[in-house]
């Protein structure tokens, strides 16, 4: 029987947006979308899609993409489909804009209950907008599943999954009973690029859509556990002392002398 894998992906502002184009509206505590820079699928989530597709390449698997949010850009959200995922399920509602982690867990677990059961739920290690790195841990607790973070390799077995988990200094091998929630990190290796055939196939697919009501939820179920009081860009004044010389080598030499002068080396 084919393994059923869900991958949770989030649409986020492009994290490569140059710092000069990153703006915040402090009066409403919101990030102002940078003009002309479209959003992207969160980078680590593409690694999670890649992990699912590697499992599919090696055996039989059905890969379902789940996303909760607002203002989805369809070209962006179809990327996992064009990489080779089978279905895309979107829960889109104005109430899902900038949800806190607890609310996101509420929505995603309702989506999983509605579209599941799944043997494996893969997610990115962290979303590059609010950098929380804990929605998947909440999902696992809410659904009472085992969880393992920071996978650099995911190998499903019989009723279990074996994960190589990246540490800051090495790795661990962990075995968890399935269904399990596994977060995937960039140490897995690059995510594949969509092929032309994949893009064509994805363009013909329509996402399945779930509304707040279809998920059995209402706006009250999404009241925040943490309140954002203030959002601002920290002030930083450049105080750099640029070292110049007759040529670049001379500048290198003078840099060393200057650091010695201040007893820094």
């Amino acid at each position: 029987m084919a393994l059923r894998i869900a991958v949770c992906v989030k649409q986020v502002p492009d994290p490569e947006t140059p710092a000069s184009a990153f703006k915040v509206d402090e009066s409403v505590n919101r990030v102002v979308p940078a003009p002309g820079i479209p959003p992207v699928v969160n980078g680590f989530d593409l690694h999670a899609v890649e992990a699912a597709l590697r499992i599919k390449d090696a055996g039989e698997a059905e890969v379902t993409i789940l996303a909760a949010g607002n203002d989805f850009v369809m070209d962006v959200m179809k990327k996992p489909l064009s990489m080779g995922a089978d279905t895309l399920v979107l829960a889109e509602d104005p109430a899902f804009e900038d949800m806190d982690a607890v609310s996101t867990v509420t929505v995603l677990s309702a989506m999983i209950q509605k579209t599941g059961p799944f043997d494996l739920i893969l997610t990115g290690r962290q979303a590059s907008d609010w950098d929380q790195a804990h929605v998947p841990l909440g999902l696992a607790e809410r659904l009472d599943l085992s969880s393992v973070t920071l996978a650099r390799n995911v190998e499903p077995g019989d009723g279990s999954v074996r994960i190589e988990r990246a540490l800051t200094d090495g790795y661990q091998v962990v075995e968890a009973p399935t269904p399990a929630v596994v977060t995937v990190s960039n140490e897995l290796g690059e995510a594949r690029y969509p092929t032309l055939r994949g893009i064509m196939a994805a363009s013909r697919k329509q996402p399945e859509r779930l509304t707040l009501a279809e998920l059995g939820l209402n706006a009250e179920a999404l009241s925040p556990a943490l309140s954002l009081r203030r959002l601002f860009i920290p002030e930083s004044e450049s105080q750099v002392e640029l070292i110049e010389g007759e040529d670049e080598a001379d500048a290198g030499r003078k840099l060393a002398l200057r650091l010695r002068e201040l007893n820094l080396i």
């Binding site: 994290p15 950098d131 962990v174 009081r229 002392e241 010695r260």
Partner: protein
């Protein structure tokens, strides 16, 4: 409900640096008016060497010794989560602090969701909000491009994980009480199995401990130049680091990565070579005192945070820099 529970960490039988930093964060909350005292809880298989003297700022030291808690848990982090939940039940703290380490970044949020209370990850400040009597936290968001201040709603425990290297540990000797807390019943329900841990042995100075770091990025163009960085690091008794781009390219191991999803470092001198200075990289450098940048692009973001810089091609700048450093070290 009262007091602050600090979940510290143990390394080689002794308190690790983050434990002292967490006690300092707790101390700040106490100074601002959080009552009920500070308890430091430690988990491990053998905690016999630990005394209250090691924990300045803690009124109580609570030792949770169990084989399942060895090195952060033999069952992934299941055992620490269960142990912390049992301790929470028995002590009902108002605030629970973890460090945002491999261990705390998982254990803290899992505990929070298990208890059904909010959690704030990767905080760089904690404060008492005198209006609400609840805690407010500051955390970098959008890769460090912005800072967000959050307040905890509801009235349950307030859980935060604290970014390492941000708080300065309290100096001196502790004089609290020490007690044992039995978790053997709690840790029986472990689901995951830790099969093995493979640690990357770093030769020489550890990045986290290094006083000088020579760090390279995509601008180096390949793995070979890292040998020149190592040579310079050797002369200065420092360590070599890297940006994520250099690690993802396979030029160096991911254990070299500095930044938001890599290591946090606090050297006196950080020499960055061919690194653009993306906010996610800079997030690992909040403890670095003197950033020195060598980059051919004078508009690179790194020059905004650097104290010294050379705008130029590293292939020309670095050999002369290294030669001069070697002469000076003479």
């Amino acid at each position: 409900m009262s007091g602050i529970l600090v979940i510290g960490e143990v390394e080689n039988g002794a308190l690790s640096a983050v434990s002292g930093e967490l006690l300092a964060a707790a101390g700040k909350l106490v100074d601002e008016g959080v009552s009920g005292g500070v308890s430091l809880a430690l988990m491990g298989d053998d905690l016999t060497g630990i005394t209250a003297a090691h924990a300045p700022g803690a009124d109580r030291v609570i030792l949770m010794s169990n084989p399942a808690l060895k090195d952060g848990g033999t069952g992934g982090y299941d055992a620490p989560v269960l142990a912390a939940a049992a301790l929470n039940e028995s002590t009902s703290p108002d605030v629970i602090l973890f460090a945002k380490t491999d261990f705390g970044a998982v254990t803290g949020p899992r505990l929070a969701f298990k208890l059904g209370v909010p959690v704030a990850q990767d905080c760089v400040d904690v404060a008492l909000d005198s209006e609400t009597g609840r805690v407010a936290v500051t955390r970098p968001v959008f890769g460090g491009n912005a800072l967000a201040v959050y307040g905890f709603n509801g009235d349950g425990a307030q859980i935060a994980t604290i970014r390492p290297g941000v708080f300065d540990p309290i100096e001196g000797e502790g004089s609290g009480t020490v007690e044992e807390f039995d978790v053997s019943a709690a840790v029986a329900a472990v689901r995951t199995t830790l099969v093995e841990t493979v640690l990357q042995e770093s030769e020489g100075v550890r990045l986290e401990d290094a006083d000088v770091i020579i760090s390279g990025g995509r601008g180096l163009g390949g793995p070979e130049p890292f040998e020149q960085l190592q040579e310079l690091a050797n002369i200065l008794g420092g360590a070599v680091g890297a940006s994520r781009a250099a690690c993802d390219a396979g030029w160096v191991d991911h254990s070299y990565q500095i930044g938001l999803t890599g290591k946090s470092v606090n050297p006196t001198v950080y020499v960055s070579i061919g690194i653009s200075g993306a906010s996610q990289h800079m997030a690992g450098l909040s403890g670095a005192r003197n950033i020195v940048a060598i980059n051919k692009d004078g508009d690179a973001n790194i020059f905004k945070s650097a104290r010294f810089g050379v705008v130029g091609d590293w292939e020309k700048v670095l050999p002369a820099f290294t030669a001069t450093v070697r002469d000076l070290a003479g």
